[in-house]
């Protein structure tokens, strides 16, 4: 199984430098031009830095970069988990219908009042809560199903069907809602890293860190599971229980990310493949941390591109991520190479 391998230590060394570099780049570049001396001044605690630079760096750029790291790593790791659990190279964090659930929650919150007179509007935190509740409800449904049904493919199909059902309801809400709220909703679906701030960031990072700890703790069971469910059972593993914990971890990772940053496509599918292509390993004890750091750095790179440095505009992060991720997914589909685990 183990072919020529890029030394793992070298990989993490390079990724560490890359993350640091992208972190500085993402903080430095944006629509408002911030001189490097202001950036340095804030780091060394110089009081003379202009108020505009300080406000933008601390209140806009820093939360945005942290969001990018959290979102990128969370989506990538949950994508890896789903690919292993479903033994499908095109599975991603959203196969369980998590993003559809979140979308329905947001649709009810944002479009509900103008469409059916039932909605509520609590501003940004209301949208976050609605998305969290929506994705958690879908997760509960999946868990309830997975307790009764042992066949993983049935669960996959049900996840897709639940997603379709929520999309249908979302479409009805869109159809009846006013232009203003429709715009708010559509812009939510395009994703955004820069609307997470202050106290939300604590909640976001807390939930993602719990999800990541679960994911790392699951690396050994996932290794066994990737060799087949029957093999895992014969070794005495409780496959259903592992699955359940993976679902909880994935929904913490992908569900919270969708709640705070909107649905961001393709990062979750593409990053695990990039890591496998570089490291040629199927050991989750290595795959999970490397997917985590790669996801974080690719998300920061996407954000640097989305900011269109030097312009007044920002591209939707979802579109940039899709344009970055699609070539990788196409490569995976076209490549003759079989999926790494098999």
């Amino acid at each position: 199984m183990k072919r020529k391998r890029t030394p793992v230590l070298a990989f993490f060394g390079i990724m560490g430098v890359l993350i640091l570099l992208l972190f500085v780049l993402d903080i430095m570049l944006g629509s408002v031009n911030i001189p490097f001396k202001d950036f340095w001044g804030i780091i060394i605690g110089d009081e003379a830095v202009s108020n505009v630079s300080r406000q933008i760096l601390i209140h806009f750029r820093l939360p945005k970069v942290i969001t990018a790291i959290l979102a990128g790593s969370a989506l990538a790791v949950s994508g890896l988990q789903m690919q292993t659990i479903f033994r499908n190279p095109l599975a991603g964090p959203y196969v369980l219908g998590i993003s559809s659930g979140a979308s329905l929650g947001v649709a009810i919150a944002v479009l509900g009042s103008s469409a059916i007179g039932l909605g509520f509007w609590f501003g940004q935190i209301g949208v976050v809560l609605a998305a969290l509740i929506g994705s958690m409800l879908i997760l509960l449904l999946i868990v309830a199903v997975s307790i009764r049904i042992r066949d993983i493919m049935t669960i996959l199909i049900l996840g897709i069907i639940f997603g379709m059902a929520t999309s249908a309801i979302t479409s009805i809400l869109q159809y009846f809602s006013s232009e203003g709220s429709l715009k708010t909703y559509v812009i939510w679906t395009m994703g955004s890293l820069s609307s997470v701030n202050g106290s939300q960031l604590w909640l976001f990072s807390g939930l993602v860190i719990i999800g990541q700890i679960l994911a790392i703790a699951l690396s050994r069971p996932l290794n066994v599971l990737s060799l087949g469910e029957n093999y895992a059972r014969s070794l005495g593993y409780n496959v259903e229980k592992i699955r359940l914990i993976v679902f909880v971890s994935t929904s913490l990772l992908a569900g919270t990310t969708t709640a705070f940053a909107g649905p961001i496509a393709f990062i979750g599918i593409a990053v695990p493949h990039i890591v496998r292509l570089i490291l040629h390993t199927s050991n989750h004890a290595i795959l999970i941390p490397s997917t985590l750091v790669t996801g974080a750095s690719i998300m920061m790179l996407c954000d640097v591109i989305a900011q269109l440095p030097g312009s007044n505009l920002v591209l939707p992060i979802n579109s940039v991520a899709a344009l970055m991720g699609i070539p990788v997914v196409v490569y995976v589909i076209l490549s003759k190479k079989r999926f790494a685990q098999h």
Partner: protein, 392 residues
Amino acid sequence: MRSYSGKNSLHLFSLNQIIPYFLFALVLIFASCKNSQTEKSVQTDNNIEPKYAKGFNIDTSNKKITINIFNPWQGAHEVVYKYSLVNKKNPDFNKVDNPIPYPVKRVICMSSSHVAFIDALGQSNTLVGLSGTKYVYNPNINKEIDNGALVDVGYDQGLNYELITSLKPDVILCYGVSEESLSYLNKLKELGLHVMLIGDYLENNPLGKTEWIKVFGYLFGVPQKADSIFNIIEQKYNSEKTIASKYQSGPTVFLNTPFRDVWYFPGNDNYFVKMIKDAGGRYLFSNLKGSQSYPISTEIAYKSGLNADVWINTGTAHSKADILKFDPRFATLAPFAKDKIYNNYKRMNKNGGNDFWESGTLNPHLILHDLVTIFHNVDVQDSCLYYYSKLK
């Protein structure tokens, strides 16, 4: 359905208005033998050329009334719709371009600003159908809705065609958002209904929007009344502008609220930006050209708003707490700390229908009065404002 004609386009108000139409007319003269030079000069005295509006003119030559509507949707280019107002009993009724029964007695409206014009002309009893009745603010119209004389006909793609047909309207007043959005008009025309496009919302001059009341005046056969209403409003607007011009320096003005991390700011030619300038305010994004809105990143918007004097039109935010729900970072903007945030939500009905968008088109002088009051007074009482309220 759409006629391209420069027939009535030569006699416009200002030189830069004339040039494009003149060139356009020249092209047509070369292209068509029917449009002779003499025909045009005969009509000079019978053309009603608007003073501010660019989207229409009215031709009353040969005892006929023709309303020409120009470019009635965003991005329309050299499009002219000719509507002929003809008595229904006239045997020539179906022989003219886009006939509209004259004077109109049964009207369906797709836009709330049209409702304000109709009510101002004392014609609200002619309204039989409306798009979005629950958003109407006008008490006269609401009375008609309550007693069932006026029904909701649906919205855009969800129009209730059967209901519309059964209401037997003389005319359906519509607006176009884009060429593609006009498909519902064709459907209405197929049903044998008379549809007219009204482009008041596209005007880039506040008084140009109001001037569309002249079109409504002709539709209802009360052109003098429309003229006198317009003249009074024009005079009030201009005197308000004169008052504003006496103040030495105006405040810097910050606008709108963002959609997540994108903030839309209108360009310099936008009617509302013109009103800010007429009220003596300094618009913070006056470098943006044209009348369209531009998506601007939150960072740039935040940087500009940080030291702004006044913040207006905060959308769905009706209190300072609402603003913090959008984004707590906005608390650091100067207008937030100085309590200088105002929104146009004072006149709203229980369903969220806002009179600012309904009668504001008719009353630019009242909007301007609000802006002048907000811009040039330290402490503004809510009772001094008509459409605006301070965010608390």
